[in-house]
């Protein structure tokens, strides 16, 4: 490359960067003074609302739907609007348009008086109540249950204990099963040092900022770098819109009910009892081998929160005859939302679920 041809390139690049810098200033000001993008706007009805539990029923967008309704179980650490981020970026909207009858379990921050809620409440009360509501509204006996992350763990536990024909299909997204392979979380929650009782006896519920801090510590400088990347892309409306939606979702980490968090740490993290088959809920042993529904587990290749080593053995242990695991490119969140999900997960779920829903 000669200097004569390189020089105009540099000038053109500089001009483009100057224009972008101007756009950054103008749009950066707008960013600071404008409200965040609307989220969760797909029309829905709240059909159940009991403290920390909310159940949404999304309004159909087509005249003919599949027979079996779909019930999403959101992770207990975050709000369910990740499934309904924005028009055109909404997993729920995609499924509605593909002809599914969609219900979503969302969790509200547990109140002080809900600190005693434990696995028994979630598995033997909340999810069965939601399934009963879905059955009553749809007139169908069977539902497809889809759980994300810890919502997947709850869905697994529910399906293992209530497998009597109510769950037709069970789908888990990036769901931890072998909790001894959790990587850094195992180190930080070392039973010799991690005094979960002191924390919960003090706070009642597990504070959201402690949960959020532990997620941030998995990638300590990424938050700061993302701010720089935001500034760099401030001229790009699509980038900013997407950034704000994800940032807002990440910032709304939920506290966890005290007893539920204590059981998660002691039974699952310290004891790995879901994996060993020793976990008991309401006096009944939770055996994933008892699950007979058609089963799909989708794991993310670059998941930094639930490492693939913690989730990959699940499919082998589930008792279903019809079962499959797929590994998709993406991370813990980009697996289910954003451009990666639109291209990969959403159509794969539709292709798997459609023939099992008619």
């Amino acid at each position: 490359m000669s200097e004569a041809t390189a020089a105009p390139d540099v000038v053109a690049r500089l001009q483009a960067e100057i224009q972008r810098a101007q756009a950054r200033n103008i749009k950066g000001w707008n960013y600071l003074v404008s409200a965040g993008p609307q989220r969760g706007v797909t029309p829905k009805d709240v059909v159940l609302n009991r403290g920390t539990l909310s159940l949404y029923h999304y309004r159909a967008q087509v005249s003919e739907v599949y027979r079996t309704p779909v019930l999403f179980v959101m992770a207990t650490t975050n709000r369910a609007f990740i499934f309904d981020l924005a028009p055109g970026q909404s997993f729920v909207e995609f499924l509605l348009q593909r002809g599914y009858d969609v219900y979503v379990i969302d969790w509200n921050p547990p109140r002080e008086d809900e600190k005693r809620l434990g696995f028994e409440d979630y598995i033997l009360d909340f999810i069965p109540a939601c399934v009963a509501e879905v059955q009553a509204r749809s007139g169908e006996d069977q539902v497809s249950v889809v759980g994300y992350c810890m919502g997947g763990v709850l869905a697994l536990m529910y399906a293992a204990l209530h497998g009597e024909g109510q769950v037709r299909n069970l789908t888990c997204f990036t769901t931890p099963f072998n909790w001894s392979n959790f990587g850094l979380f195992n180190r930080w929650a070392d039973p010799r040092h991690f005094d979960v009782d002191t924390i919960l006896d003090t706070f009642g519920n597990m504070p959201a900022d402690l949960i959020s801090a532990s997620f941030d510590m998995l990638r300590p400088v990424s938050k700061a770098v993302s701010q720089v990347q935001l500034w760099d892309n401030m001229w790009n409306d699509e980038f900013v819109k997407s950034y704000r939606a994800f940032d807002r979702w990440g910032a709304e980490t939920l506290p966890l009910a005290g007893e539920y968090f204590r059981q998660t740490v002691k039974e699952l993290m310290f004891g790995n009892k879901l994996y060993t088959g020793e976990l008991e809920i309401g006096g009944r042993r939770v055996d994933v081998g008892a699950i007979t529904a058609s089963f799909l587990h989708v794991v993310a290749e670059h998941d930094h929160i639930v490492p693939i080593e913690a989730s990959r053995e699940l499919v082998e242990r589930v008792g279903s005859a019809d079962k499959e695991q797929i590994v998709l490119k993406g991370g813990h969140v980009s697996l289910i939302a954003g451009p990666n999900a639109v291209r990969r997960l959403w159509p794969r779920l539709d292709a798997w679920l459609a023939p099992r829903s008619a």
């Binding site: 609302n49 005249s63 109140r111 770098v225």
Partner: protein
């Protein structure tokens, strides 16, 4: 794009590399047992300190006959209950008083959809 004009791209790549390497270095350090022990001891100490502060503040509020945070929480929970009941009453009234004026329930879709045939999928 020529190499000479890629200075912005180079900066972006350097930033990503720094992020990856720093994350790896810091998480590797935090995996050390001593770091984990100190981190958890600090968290427990902060929790105990916060509890003691909370108790002290609670005592002071009682002394000055002021409502505490727990009182506000209880009040909020009661208000939430009242709001929920009002919502139920409103829904009942809407149904009883003006069933035709309220937004009509959309017709239920038929549950007869069949999956697309493999050659027509898309």
């Amino acid at each position: 794009m020529t190499q000479s004009a890629d200075f912005v791209e180079l900066w972006r790549e350097a930033l990503q590399k720094w992020e990856r390497q720093t994350n790896e270095a810091l998480t590797a350090a935090s995996a050390d047992e001593n770091v984990s022990r100190v981190m958890n001891q600090s968290m427990a100490a902060i929790a105990r300190l916060q509890a003691k502060q909370g108790e002290a503040i609670e005592r002071e509020l009682i002394r000055y006959n002021l409502p505490s945070r727990a009182d506000f929480r209880e009040l909020a929970a009661r208000l939430e209950g009242i709001e929920a009941q009002l919502g139920e009453i409103r829904d009942l009234l809407r149904g009883a008083v003006a069933p035709t004026e309220a937004s009509p329930a959309p017709p239920k879709p038929a549950r007869t959809r069949k999956p697309p045939q493999p050659d027509s999928a898309g």
